[in-house]
C-alpha cells in the first residue's frame, strides 16, 4: 500500500499546488534556518580526532598570582604554560608521548626569484607532535628526538606552502630561507585541517593550521617572536628575550598521550609533585590546581562553541516551531478540503488506520520536500555566513553527509509531528456527513 499512498500523496499535492507549496515553503524556511545554525554548532563541537581524543590530554598547571585566580568564574588554572614549565614537564617524559608547542611566525624567502617573500605562521613543536595528532604526510616525515635536542634547522611545510614555493614537487631535501635562516625541508604535509584546531584553541580554534612546523627549541635559538595570546601575572624581572622565557608569562601549550585511567591519575600525581617541588623553589604560590583534560573536555572548557552560536541555534529551532504551527494550520485546511474523499474512502472500506497511514505518508512527503528545499536554503545561509565572517566561518559552515541526513530527518519528524493533529481529525471525519454534501 505504501506505493499507492505515495501516489495519492503526490496527486493530493497537485490538487492544491498553492497550499502544498506554502507548506513546503514553511517547512523549508524552518529547516533552512535551523540547519544553518545547527551546522555551525555541529562543526564547532565536532570531535577533531575521534580515534584517540580520549587519550590525548591538555596539561594545565596553576602558576598564577596568589591574589587572583586565573579565571574568576570557574577557578580553572591558566590555559597555557611558561617556557620553563613546558620544558621541565616535557623533559620529565612521564607520558606515553608528549609534545610542547607554541605559535610563532616570520618571513619565508623562496629561492625562486619569481616567488615573492611572504609572512608565514610557524608551529614550534617537539617531534612527537606529528605522531600524537595523526598528521598525514604527502612527502617525507617529521623530525626525530635528536633534531629536537640538537636544534636542527629542519622544517615540515604544508601542502599549500609546498605548492607556492616548490610548485607542488617533492621538496624533501630542498632548502628554504625562513626568518633569515636556512632550513632543510624534511616533510610536506598532506591536506590536514582539524576542526576545531584543537591542539591550540588559545590562538583561534578555527584558524588555519600553521604554514611551517619546526623544532620547539628553535624558539630560543633563533629568538623567534611569540605569536598568539601571552599572559603574565607579574612583571618580568628584566627586558629581553631570555627574560621573557624565564618569566611567569604563559604562551606555550602541552599535550600528553596517556593510554588509560591509571596513566592519567599517575600523570596528575606527577604534575602535583612537580608543582610542590616548584613551590619549594618559591614559585606556584596558589594552592594545587592542576588539570588534565582530554580533547573534548578541553574544547568544552575553552568554550569553542560560542554562546552566541548556541543562542542562535535555539532561536532558529523556535522559528522552526513557528513554521510548523503554520504548517498545522495549512494541513488542517488541506485535509478539510478532502473531507468528501475521506468520507468516500471510509464508506468503501478504509479503516481509520488506513487513512492515518495515507495522510501520514502525505505529510511525510511534504516534510521531505520541505527538508530538501530547506537544505538548499541552509546552503545559501551558510554561504551568507561565510561571506559575513570570512575565514573563520569557512571551516564551520559546511555540510557533511551526517548533516544532510539530520536535516532530512528533522524535516521528516517535524512534519509528521505537525501532521498528527490534522491527520487525526481527518481520520475521524464522519463519512455519513460527507457523502451527501459533495
Amino acid at each position: 500500500m505504501f506505493s499507492y499512498y505515495l501516489r495519492l500523496a503526490f496527486k493530493s499535492m497537485g490538487r492544491n499546488p498553492i497550499l502544498s507549496a506554502l507548506m513546503v515553503a514553511a517547512i523549508a524556511l524552518g529547516i533552512g534556518a535551523s540547519m544553518t545554525t545547527i551546522t555551525v554548532n555541529y562543526m564547532m563541537s565536532s570531535n577533531p580526532i575521534p580515534e584517540k581524543s580520549e587519550q590525548l590530554f591538555y596539561v594545565q598547571v596553576d602558576n598564577w598570582s596568589p591574589h587572583n585566580p586565573y579565571d574568576d568564574e570557574t577557578g580553572f588554572p591558566p590555559t597555557q604554560l611558561t617556557w620553563r614549565d613546558a620544558n621541565n614537564l616535557y623533559n620529565a617524559q612521564q607520558g606515553t608521548r608528549q609534545t610542547i608547542m607554541a605559535k610563532s611566525g616570520g618571513v619565508v624567502q623562496p629561492d625562486d626569484q619569481d616567488v615573492k617573500p611572504f609572512e608565514a605562521a610557524f608551529r614550534l613543536a617537539t617531534n612527537e607532535f606529528f605522531a600524537m595528532f595523526n598528521v598525514p604526510f604527502l612527502f617525507g616525515s617529521g623530525w626525530d628526538t635528536q633534531a629536537d635536542k640538537n636544534r636542527e634547522h629542519v622544517v615540515v611545510i604544508t601542502k599549500q606552502i609546498n605548492e607556492r614555493v616548490f610548485g607542488g614537487d617533492n621538496s624533501v631535501g630542498r632548502e628554504l630561507t625562513i626568518a633569515g635562516h636556512t632550513f632543510k625541508v624534511i616533510g610536506v604535509l598532506d591536506t590536514w585541517q582539524p576542526i576545531p584546531k584543537f591542539y591550540d584553541v588559545e590562538n583561534g580554534a578555527f584558524e588555519d593550521i600553521e604554514d611551517v612546523f619546526m623544532p620547539f627549541l628553535l624558539k630560543e635559538e633563533l629568538e623567534l617572536p611569540s605569536w598568539g595570546n601571552t599572559s603574565c601575572w607579574k612583571p618580568r624581572e628584566s627586558d629581553g628575550f631570555h627574560a621573557f622565557l624565564n618569566s611567569e608569562c604563559i604562551n606555550f601549550q602541552m599535550w600528553v598521550e596517556l593510554l588509560d585511567a591509571n596513566a592519567e591519575s599517575g600523570y596528575l600525581a606527577f604534575l602535583n609533585n612537580y608543582v610542590n617541588e616548584q613551590k619549594s623553589l618559591g614559585r606556584f604560590p596558589r594552592p594545587l590546581n592542576n588539570k588534565l583534560s582530554h580533547v573534548m573536555e578541553w574544547m568544552e572548557i575553552s568554550e569553542v562553541v560560542e554562546e552566541d552560536a548556541k543562542v542562535m541555534m535555539w532561536l532558529s529551532l523556535m522559528f522552526l516551531t513557528v513554521c510548523l504551527l503554520n504548517t498545522i494550520g495549512l494541513l488542517l485546511a488541506k485535509f478539510s478540503s478532502k473531507s468528501s474523499e475521506i468520507g468516500l474512502r471510509r464508506a468503501v472500506g478504509a479503516s481509520k488506520k488506513d487513512l492515518f497511514y495515507q495522510h501520514t505518508v502525505e505529510t511525510a512527503c511534504i516534510g521531505l520536500l520541505g527538508g530538501l528545499l530547506g537544505l538548499v536554503l541552509a546552503l545559501l545561509g551558510l554561504t551568507g555566513i561565510k561571506s559575513l565572517y570570512g575565514d573563520f566561518a569557512t571551516k564551520v559552515a559546511n555540510f557533511d553527509f551526517t548533516l544532510v541526513l539530520l536535516g532530512l530527518l528533522l524535516a521528516l519528524i517535524s512534519s509528521i509531528a505537525a501532521g498528527l493533529y490534522p491527520t487525526w481529525r481527518a481520520c475521524n471525519i464522519q463519512p455519513a456527513s460527507q457523502l451527501k454534501s459533495q
Partner: protein, 233 residues
C-alpha cells in the same frame, strides 16, 4: 440478508433530541430489490447510513448477512463494509483527480487484492457499465449518467452481496435515470440484493418491494399507489 429489529437512533444537541429512527423494523431477503421512500426528514438516510455501517445506532439489533454488527470495532466495520456492501450515491462521489480505473480501484485497494486481480475486476466492472473503453478518462470528462455508471462499477468491483443506493438517479435526467435503473435491475437479476432510497415514485414503481418511512418507522407498501403523494412532496 439485512435484518433490523427495533433499531433506534437519536441525534442529540444541547437543546434538542431528535428521534431519527424509532423501533425501526425491516427484513430484507437475499436477492430483494427494495425501494425506500418517505418524506424529507423521515429517517431514510439515517436508515441507509446505519444499514451501510456508516453510523452506529442507539438501540435494537441489526444483523447483516447473519452477523450482528452492534459491537464491531471500527476496523471490523470497515472490513465488513468493504466485503459485503457496495455504495451508490446521488452525487456519485468520484474522486476528481483519479481516472476511472483508479476510482474503481479504491475499494479493491482496501481488500488487499493483488495487482492482477484488481485489474481484472476493474476491467470487468467497467465492462458491465459500458465504460471499458474510457478507463483513462477523468470523471470531469464524462456526463452525469456516465459518472453514475462509474460509481456503480466501483460498487460492483468488490462483488458485494448488498448494494445501497441513495437517490442514485437524483442528479440525472429522465433518460439517463432510466438507463441507470435498468442497469441496477440487471445487477439485481444476477443475485445482488439492492436497497435504494428514492424520492422518485416512478422509479420506486419499477422495483419489486417498496418500504415507506415516516417519523423514523417503516410501513410496508404493497404497491406504489399506496404512497401518500402529499408525504413525498
Amino acid at each position: 440478508m439485512l435484518k433490523m429489529t427495533n433499531v433506534k437512533k437519536v441525534f442529540r444537541t444541547d437543546l434538542v433530541e431528535t428521534h431519527a429512527l424509532r423501533d425501526f423494523n425491516l427484513d430484507v431477503k437475499e436477492g430483494d430489490f427494495v425501494a425506500v421512500t418517505g418524506p424529507s426528514g423521515s429517517g431514510k438516510t439515517t436508515f441507509l447510513n446505519i444499514a451501510g455501517l456508516l453510523e452506529t445506532f442507539d438501540g435494537g439489533s441489526y444483523q447483516l448477512d447473519g452477523k450482528c454488527v452492534s459491537n464491531l470495532s471500527d476496523s471490523q466495520r470497515s472490513k465488513l463494509r468493504n466485503e459485503k456492501i457496495g455504495f451508490i450515491f446521488q452525487s456519485f462521489n468520484l474522486i476528481p483527480d483519479l481516472d476511472l480505473f483508479d476510482n474503481v480501484d479504491v475499494p479493491l485497494r482496501y481488500r488487499g487484492f493483488n495487482r492482477a486481480e484488481r485489474k481484472a475486476r476493474i476491467e470487468q466492472s467497467l465492462e458491465v457499465v459500458g465504460l471499458a473503453n474510457r478507463m483513462k478518462h477523468l470523471p470531469s470528462q464524462l456526463s452525469g449518467g456516465q459518472q453514475q455508471r462509474v460509481a456503480i462499477a466501483r460498487a460492483l468491483a468488490g462483488e458485494p452481496r448488498f448494494l445501497l443506493a441513495d437517490e442514485p438517479t437524483g442528479n440525472l435526467d429522465t433518460k439517463m435515470a432510466h438507463s441507470v435503473m435498468e442497469l441496477l435491475q440487471n445487477i439485481n437479476a444476477q443475485g445482488t440484493t439492492i436497497v435504494m432510497v428514492t424520492h422518485d415514485q416512478k422509479l420506486a414503481k419499477e422495483v419489486q418491494r417498496n418500504i415507506f418511512v415516516r417519523d423514523g418507522q417503516v410501513s410496508e407498501l404493497h404497491s406504489v399507489g399506496d404512497i401518500p403523494s402529499a408525504a413525498m412532496a
